[in-house]
């Protein structure tokens, strides 16, 4: 721990030493910005000192800002796109506090308008490779079953690829699914999908802000190799009570929010449940009738202000999927809980302390009676996180902090009744501590040049009580050592530098670059095409090394026509070390020696991303095109040569258009095209025991047919009443019923087993859906 402290101090001194000297008498303007209609904190809103060039601040996650200026007279502008700009003139001769509320330009229009950040923020911010979504933006974008989903909308942006037709899993810049750090109010979410991947666990009604970092991520984040998806829940309306919701073909949603005490605290509870199983009940087929097939989830959050300097937040998510039929049942889910305390040590030093719980578990049962054999597994984190933001002057914003996570893995346990023939069984729990300490400075060097530089030291300690195994090259166990409780089995650590540079040519164009290194200590072992809840999360250990991902990126950003069009062109190159695959036929569950079945390799991913977005006018939307490769190399796969990763889709194009026909009627369309997934097809066949067996020569040497699809949507606003408003949403997924290959399997012909054939399964052909949304005020 002492080591950590010296490191922070050193880092901090190094960084702050570079800051511009401040002389004369200075005063601080600080405060918060909120939405005047509901009291929600505005994240990333601008506070601009109008009469002092290149001076200003951006509100943080909690709507807080701080600017320190020499004594003088200033005009301060508060602005956030979609909100009415406010200006104040002040004579700064003492510290000032502003708690401003900005009024939305029009609450009604905002529902369907694609909202940019600050108008040229994409050009002027230091960071690159960042995608921001306002959950309100996605309402008009047509999606499968009409179930709006932020992750599926993100899949339509450059560098983000879906894990399959209708799937909520995603790949970022050639990385694997487990390389995405998905945070919901700071809590990591281990399995972000419902119903085997067709829906994400995020109910967009409860969300306020969604930010995806796919390149250099700020130093405050760590633990995953490829990206951070930082999702912030709404705080709840602190002005008045509100109920809203929607009825859809597949699910219904309800959100309640309101003040705990006006302007001082609020709560929000948002829940949804699918009801496909209710349709199954109508079936005449007995086994379908008894089938269970649903998920539900609930988000809840409350916040309360304790005086001027302190604020408490308590938020949580709970969701579960249940699948089952006679003789078999499976259910899984996540829960997270976050308790946060904001404290202002001074007008210039903002602190947030969080205690975070994350849990993922699954269980299934089968056998003659429903639960003759029960299998359970779970993973649990307790996380303590401390973040400081220091605003030394108008040119620097310094962030520093640390976090420490206690991971507990309860790999798999089996409980069986005596009749089943199975014995109770349990693989050992595994324990680990993961920690990080970081410091970062966001520095406006000049009006044109900006730098965000930071460093993170992360460490991972795999500890007892437990048994560690060693294996020979073939995966046979060679030794076994038991460790006492708390005893270190293996420690890993490393420095993760993060650097983002910006050179702004003028108001509308800039060039940016980024360099970063990320360590990943937790790994997901999965080999199926669908994301399965039984995929196994495992820690780094004496056998499994942490994944290390290095990325360099460079981009050109240009806005046109008074920021009506935002354009960007970015390229990246990424290397991935210590990637994991496993041996064919390996038993991963109920196997404490699974590490013997693992094999290690490396990867490389590179690409170019083009993005143009129109965020104003009747027609809004974007075009996103990615040209990319993602390759892997394992000694014992493909004869040690590089081969394309599954997510190696060379071309990926998405066109999203939303057209506002009238105040009440909006139509929208998406068209998606991408190169078919890399796949392994047989090069021959032979017969064993009368079974036709395919013979494989190279990994991922073939491709699925190209994927394309058109989705259409119509949003119709109902009559606006004083206390009630409503809208209808109609959509068709895959409107021209393209039979995109979900899987291609090679099988014996049913009738003539001597013949073999390729069978393509297509999942979704023209799926229409309808949703009714309402809001009581």
């Amino acid at each position: 721990m002492k080591n950590y402290f010296t490191k922070t101090l050193l880092l901090f001194l190094l960084m702050y030493g570079g800051a511009a000297p401040v002389f004369g008498q200075n005063f601080t303007i600080s405060g918060t910005l909120k939405d005047a209609s509901n009291g929600e904190d505005l994240i990333g809103a601008s506070v601009i000192v109008v009469n002092k060039a290149a001076t200003g601040a951006t509100t943080n996650t909690y709507g807080f800002f701080s600017i320190t200026l020499p004594k003088g007279a200033y005009q301060i502008r508060f602005q956030y796109l979609g909100y009415v700009t406010v200006e104040e003139t002040i004579t700064l001769d003492k510290d000032f506090k502003f708690n401003k509320e900005l009024a939305p330009e029009s609450t009604l229009i905002a529902e369907v308008e694609i909202k940019a950040q600050k108008e040229n923020k994409n050009v002027s911010r230091n960071e690159m490779s960042v995608t921001k979504l306002d959950p309100k933006d996605i309402e008009a974008v047509p999606v499968l079953f009409g179930e709006k989903d932020i992750i599926k909308t993100l899949q339509l942006t450059p560098g983000v690829k879906s894990a399959g037709d209708g799937n909520a899993g995603f790949y970022v810049r050639g990385g694997a699914i487990d390389q995405n750090l998905i945070l919901l109010d700071e809590a990591p979410v281990y399995n972000a999908s419902h119903l085997l991947g067709f829906f994400s666990v995020f109910n967009s009604d409860a969300l306020k802000d969604v930010t995806l970092y796919k390149g250099t991520m700020p130093a405050e984040y760590g633990g995953r190799g490829s990206s951070v998806l930082d999702i912030k829940m709404k705080d709840g309306n602190n002005k008045k009570f509100n109920a809203s919701g929607g009825l859809g073909v597949i699910s219904s949603r309800l959100t309640l929010e309101g003040p705990l005490q006006k302007d001082e605290g609020s709560f929000i509870v948002s829940a949804r449940r699918t009801y496909a199983d209710l349709f199954l009940k109508l079936s005449k087929n007995e086994s379908l009738k008894d089938s269970k097939l649903y998920f539900y989830d609930m988000n809840a959050k409350a916040n309360y202000r304790l005086g001027a300097k302190d604020r408490l937040f308590l938020s949580g998510y709970f969701g579960r999927d249940v699948l089952g039929t006679t003789g078999f049942g499976l259910n899984w889910g996540n829960y997270t809980g976050t308790l946060r305390w904001n404290h202002l040590f001074s007008d210039r030093l903002f602190s947030n302390t969080s205690v975070i719980l994350s849990n993922f578990d699954y269980q299934f049962g089968f056998g003659a009676t429903d639960n003759a054999i029960k299998v359970k597994a779970s993973i649990q984190d307790i996380n303590l996180k401390q973040d400081f933001t220091f605003f030394p002057n108008t040119k620097n914003t310094v962030k520093f902090g640390f976090n420490i996570i206690n991971h507990t893995f309860l790999p798999t346990s089996l409980e069986a009744d005596a009749e089943s023939g199975f014995s109770d069984s349990k693989t050992e729990n595994k324990y680990a501590y993961e920690g990080g300490i970081y410091a970062q400075n966001d520095w406006k060097v000049t009006e044109r040049i900006g730098v965000q530089y930071g460093i993170r030291y992360s460490g991972f300690n795999y500890i007892g009580k437990g048994t560690a195994y060693t294996f020979d090259k073939k995966g046979n166990k060679t030794s076994e050592t038991t460790y006492k409780k708390g005893e270190s089995i293996k420690y890993y650590g490393g420095l993760e530098p993060r650097l983002a540079l910006k050179y702004q040519m003028d108001e509308v164009s800039s060039i940016k670059g980024g360099l970063s290194r990320n360590y990943q200590y937790m790994h997901l072992l999965s080999n199926s095409t669908t994301s399965s809840p039984t995929d196994l999360w495992v820690p780094s250990s004496n056998n499994v090394k942490p994944q290390i991902v290095d990325q360099a990126s460079i981009g050109y950003f240009r806005n046109f026509n008074d920021n009506m069009f935002e354009c960007s062109f970015e390229t990246y190159y990424k290397t991935l070390q210590n990637q994991i695959d496993y041996r064919n036929g390996a038993d991963l569950i109920f196997n404490s020696e699974y590490e013997g079945a693992l094999t290690y390799g490396k990867g490389v991913a590179y690409g170019a991303e083009f993005y143009i977005k129109k965020s104003k006018g009747k027609l809004t939307g974007w075009v996103s095109y990615t040209l990319a490769r993602s390759l892997r190399k394992f000694e014992d796969i493909n004869e040690g040569d590089f081969y394309p990763a599954r997510q190696d889709r060379i071309h990926d194009l998405a066109i999203v258009g939303i057209y506002k026909l009238s105040k009440k009627l909006t139509v929208s369309a998406n068209w998606i095209f991408y190169t078919g997934d890399a796949a392994t097809f047989p090069s021959g066949k032979y017969v064993v025991d009368g079974i036709q067996v395919p013979y494989y020569t190279e990994r991922n040497g073939y491709r699925y047919p190209n994927y394309h699809r058109l989705d259409l949507g119509i949003t119709l606003l109902g009559k606006q009443r004083k206390n009630y408003e409503s809208s209808w949403n109609f959509s068709v997924y895959n409107a021209y019923a393209r039979e995109n290959a979900y899987t291609i399997t090679f099988e014996q012909n049913e009738d003539d087993p001597t013949k073999t054939e390729a069978v393509r399964t297509a999942l979704f052909k023209a799926i229409p859906s309808i949703t009714y949304n309402f809001k009581f005020r």
């Binding site: 089938s291 006679t326 078999f328 669908t530 569950i589 395919p694 069978v759």
Partner: protein, 266 residues
């Protein structure tokens, strides 16, 4: 166990559709396939040597007729199998012995392939019990659908590996989806009542069940093979089964013992 998920995934996909499609596949250099099953309770031992063919080809596999095949039990002197032509090599009156290790060596055109297999003691089947199926069978009524449960005492002493083979109305079930292997990692020493869950039967079917014992390498082979040829195989990265052949041949050399029972479904 994860395979159980796939039928569930299938009901999700109410709108899915399947179609046989044309795909252009590269042809690869043919590989040797050696299939050799040494049975404890049978007289004679036969080895089949063939080559891989084109995946969509309909010709009979090409046979290898120039091989030298020898079998060695423990430290005994090896015996050479007779070349019968048509890719068949036999030791006609050979009787295998349980509790012994065997080494099979095949030489073709100067290349040598070797595999060893241990012939375990058979585990006796106790009885076969017929029950009305409680397995989900979507879209079809199941009142006339039956399952056969195998009852047997799992020996506590060692790790056991099994394959359950069936012959229904005198026809062996040898489709990939019927390939059923078991291990005793979670059931060691228990009294087992396990259904032949890869198949259901109709009234009056004659079902012959063979409980085959084999060594760990054979289990690994058939387990990885079943992952490849069972229905709903959706591995993102299929690879060839884990063979016990050295030298890059496909197929297997297995020594098996077994016990059999027959039941009429009623």
């Amino acid at each position: 166990m994860i395979k159980i998920l796939f039928p569930i995934a299938a009901i999700l996909v109410l709108a899915s559709c399947q179609k046989v499609i044309e795909i252009d596949l590269n042809s690869a250099t043919p590989l040797i396939v050696i299939e050799a099953a040494l049975q404890e309770n049978a007289v004679g031992f036969t080895v089949h040597i063939t080559q891989t063919g084109n995946y969509f080809g309909t010709d009979q596999p090409k046979t290898i007729n120039t091989a030298t095949v020898t079998l060695k039990k423990g430290t005994d002197n090896p015996i050479t199998l007779a070349n019968e032509g048509n890719g068949i090599y036999t030791a006609a009156s050979y009787v295998a012995e349980k509790g012994k290790s065997y080494l099979l060596t095949v030489t073709v055109d100067g290349a040598t392939y070797e595999a060893t297999s241990y012939l375990p003691v058979p585990v006796p089947l106790d009885e076969l019990v017929v029950q009305v199926s409680d397995q989900p069978s979507f879209g079809s009524p199941q009142a006339d659908s039956f399952q056969v449960f195998c009852h047997f005492q799992e020996p506590l002493a060692e790790a056991n590996f099994y394959r359950i083979k069936t012959i229904v109305n005198d026809v062996p079930s040898n489709k990939g989806e019927n390939l059923l292997v078991l291990e005793d990692r979670l059931t060691n020493g228990n009294y087992i009542r396990i259904p032949v869950f890869t198949e259901t039967y109709k009234l009056n079917d004659k079902v012959e069940v063979e409980l085959v014992s084999m060594d760990a390498k054979m289990y690994d082979y058939f387990n990885s093979l079943s992952g490849l040829v069972s229905n709903g195989n959706s591995s993102a990265a299929p690879t060839n089964p884990n063979t016990n052949w050295s030298g890059g041949a496909l197929g297997y050399f297995g020594a098996f013992s077994s016990s059999k029972k027959t039941v009429i479904v009623q």
